[in-house]
């Protein structure tokens, strides 16, 4: 399965012998996953907004003393009373109710010490569980930088649990954490008597008072408010400047993705072409050379070209996520979302669907209301995922002239690209409106979103994310796309007649394409596009590989690029219809699989699949007809 996100929760848990599993617990955005990544050397996604982790992730920490422990990273919680599906994961793991995960025998409770009073409230129910717990006060660097202080030893005496003051992102103070884990591994970690009794757990004001008393005994001095966050919000949430910045950010991103990546992509294209010819020159003229040149280089190479663009997209998404701007964007967009019956919490999953619908659908776990959650799951695949980006780029570059619109900074091609993103978003909102006023009506749940302070995205975090995304993209190119290209190449050479491969339109591929033609002809597509549509069911960008192979075998791509071949082969109406088709159609098996898993039945994925295909066909048909009428 070409899953966008390797999901550790689906793998079998690591074997650990007798040592207990250690759970990382803490409020949202307190740095649990950052610590988890530090301890296990793994790379769970982290970002600067609440609710990034929505499932449990298992990993192993290799201890300095040579031992090994299983660590489980959990979604953030404010208390141990679960309201949403992601919080339920934390609850179930801690109670030992999660299949496949042993009940944790020790806990790392991680709290943001720049807001200790409120975060310590979570210590009460966690300590009440009664297993050895290390209380970690994270973001110590931030606390110091803003003039706050705390005495970890005094806090420890009150809580009856060891306390470590650390900065997980900088890696400072981690010795205390390793020390605790060593004790857990050797069975020496224990629960000590507390200086102060625990409060009544289900009484929030009572717990908060208890936390305040502990803070006072621990000589806690709260830091001054983050001054830069205040200053930036004066701009980003300004009634006039805020929306202007929002629009400029969006336009800038599109223009850069479109034209900024161009030179690197062109260079990559030449390199791939040259290497293909070089390799082919070693092979004898015939089937093998065609397999390598058309099947492998034509298919995989034409997709790999888009790597720089994909990386650029993820760089921008990474900066937006890590800086904390995303939460502000969610705030600005909330009114629009509300008008279409969606709640503000739907916005962040929808934004992450710009990368890929699979993690976006997982991220809907933070939405407490079941019906709101299903509505968000159903519309998420309309958001323009990164797999659509290469398809859009190819067709736009072939058919839309590159005229400057807003001066040299924003051109017609970038505008067309933006238009397609808006189209997907509009389809999502329209669908939400229909769903929320009919089958998925619900009473409104209050919208509460914590605004994280702005932070500088670190080069390391952005770099790791780009490497990971690049590898995922290349792995897909090396597996799904390579495989479909090879199958396609083979089917295009069968059946063999009199010892010769047939003309491509006479082959199995041609026959399938021609059978499809009556259905897709009204959309302005020919049989080659039809084959591309079938193969794009594996993953959207596969269509590029497929077309690369087909045009390659027809001998066009040796003399001209895929872009030029496409321009020659399609009418403007057909090309625009193809763009619209890709904006709406559900062509992703991974998405269907994750929708099935998250909704618990085939009902919703089947409805979603049919609805999106019908919508895609109808709108592509309308586009082709309108363009044919008005453009000739």
């Amino acid at each position: 399965m070409s899953d966008c996100h390797g999901s550790a929760a689906l793998e079998s848990p690591p074997r650990t012998g007798n040592a207990p599993v250690v759970a990382i617990v803490g409020p949202p955005n307190s740095g649990k996953s950052t610590l988890f990544n530090r301890l296990t050397g793994m790379r769970q996604k982290v970002a600067n907004f609440p609710g990034v982790t929505v499932e449990h992730h298992l990993g192993r920490a290799a201890l300095p003393g040579g031992g090994e422990l299983a660590i489980v990273d959990l979604p953030g919680v404010y208390s141990l009373i679960a309201r949403s599906d992601d919080e339920r994961v934390t609850h179930d793991v801690l109670k030992g109710l999660m299949p496949g995960v042993e009940k944790p025998g020790a806990i790392l409770l991680i709290l943001d010490c720049t807001n200790l009073g409120r975060h310590l409230v979570l210590a009460a129910p966690v300590l009440a569980i009664g297993v050895p717990t290390l209380v970690i006060l994270n973001m110590a660097d931030d606390l110091r930088g803003r003039g706050g202080q705390v005495d970890a030893g005094l806090i420890a005496a009150q809580l009856g649990a060891p306390v470590a003051l650390i900065s997980a992102s900088k890696g400072e103070g981690l010795e205390r954490v390793w020390e605790f884990l060593e004790k857990v591994e050797s069975g020496q970690a224990s629960v000590k008597p507390r200086g102060m009794e625990l409060p009544v757990l289900n009484n929030v004001p009572n717990c908060r008072e208890w936390a305040a008393r502990i803070g006072k005994k621990g000589k806690y001095r709260a830091p001054v408010p983050p001054i830069w966050t205040r200053r930036l919000d004066e701009v980003f949430l300004h009634p006039v400047a805020g929306p202007i910045v929002f629009v400029l950010v969006v336009l800038g991103v599109f223009q850069t993705i479109f034209s900024g990546a161009r030179p690197i992509m062109d260079a990559l294209q030449s390199a791939i072409n040259a290497s293909g010819q070089w390799v082919a020159s070693f092979l004898p003229e015939g089937a093998l050379r065609s397999l390598v040149a058309d099947g492998v280089w034509g298919g995989v190479g034409s997709v790999v070209v888009f790597l720089p663009q994909i990386l650029l997209l993820f760089l921008f998404l990474g900066i937006l996520e890590d800086s904390g701007y995303l939460a502000r964007a969610a705030l600005i967009a909330d009114r629009t979302m509300a008008r279409f019956g969606l709640q503000g919490k739907s916005f962040i999953p929808l934004l992450s669907a710009y990368a890929c619908a699979v993690p976006a659908i997982m991220a809907t776990r933070t939405i407490e209301n079941k019906r709101d959650r299903i509505a968000t799951i159903l519309i998420a695949p309309f958001m323009t995922c990164s797999a659509r980006l290469p398809v859009y780029t190819l067709i736009i570059a072939a058919f839309i002239p590159n005229r400057p619109l807003l001066g040299p900074l924003f051109g017609a091609q970038a505008a067309a690209m933006l238009g397609l993103y808006v189209l997907g978003f509009a389809a999502a909102l329209g669908t939400a409106r229909v769903l929320k006023s009919t089958v998925l009506k619900s009473s409104r749940t209050p919208f509460m979103l914590e605004m994280p302070p702005y932070r500088w995205p670190t080069v390391q975090s952005l770099g790791l994310r780009l490497v990971d995304r690049g590898l995922v993209f290349l792995r897909r190119a090396g597996t799904v796309i390579l495989l479909t290209s090879l199958i396609l190449w083979a089917l295009a050479h069968l059946p063999v007649v009199h010892g010769h491969a047939p003309q491509i339109s006479e082959s199995i591929v041609g026959t399938i394409g021609h059978t499809l033609e009556p259905v897709i002809k009204p959309l302005g597509f020919n049989w080659r596009i039809g084959i591309g549509l079938i193969s794009s069911l594996a993953a959207r960008e596969v269509i590029i590989g497929t077309l690369g192979t087909i045009y390659g075998m027809e001998g066009t791509s040796h003399s001209q690029s895929l872009q030029a071949a496409l321009h020659h082969d399609l009418t403007l109406g057909g090309a625009l219809a193809l763009l619209v088709f890709f904006a709406f159609a559900m062509q992703c098996m991974s998405t269907l699989a994750v929708v099935r898993r998250e909704t618990g039945s085939w009902r919703w994925p089947l409805i979603q699949f049919s609805y999106m295909w019908v919508l895609a066909w109808v709108c592509a048909f309308a586009t082709n007809q309108l363009v044919s009428i008005f453009w000739t």
């Binding site: 404010y78 004066e234 949430l237 300004h238 009634p239 600005i332 009114r335 009473s443 919208f447 605004m451």
Partner: protein
């Protein structure tokens, strides 16, 4: 603890008159601070708001908002939490001066 439970809290801003000493948090002008008095929401929602820091007796400051004034960010207990107007209308603060009818 001053927490009244209202099972029918809806999205609309209720119109019934208020006791003279209470103002709706939704009406608190940007930049001003007030002491939270009570949360008039279903128990679940009130609980989550309290976990986020909206506790009776604590001070709340109205900060920046999305264009159009909704949702608004509130500074409470060391963090910034955005609430929609419809929610903030169910939170009551002590008025600085009694409101005119």
């Amino acid at each position: 603890m001053q927490l009244s439970v209202n099972r029918e809290a809806s999205g609309s801003v209720p119109a019934e008159p208020l006791p003279p000493a209470l103002c709706r948090l939704a009406e608190l002008p940007a930049g001003e601070q007030a002491i939270l008095e009570k949360l008039d929401l279903p128990e679940d929602d009130a609980r989550r708001l309290m976990e986020l820091g909206f506790l009776p007796g604590h001070s709340v400051t109205a900060a920046r908002s999305a264009p159009g004034g909704d949702p608004r960010v509130f500074r409470v207990d060391g963090s910034e939490i955005a609430l929609r107007r419809e929610t903030a209308a169910h939170l009551f603060v002590r008025c600085g001066t009694p409101k005119r009818p």
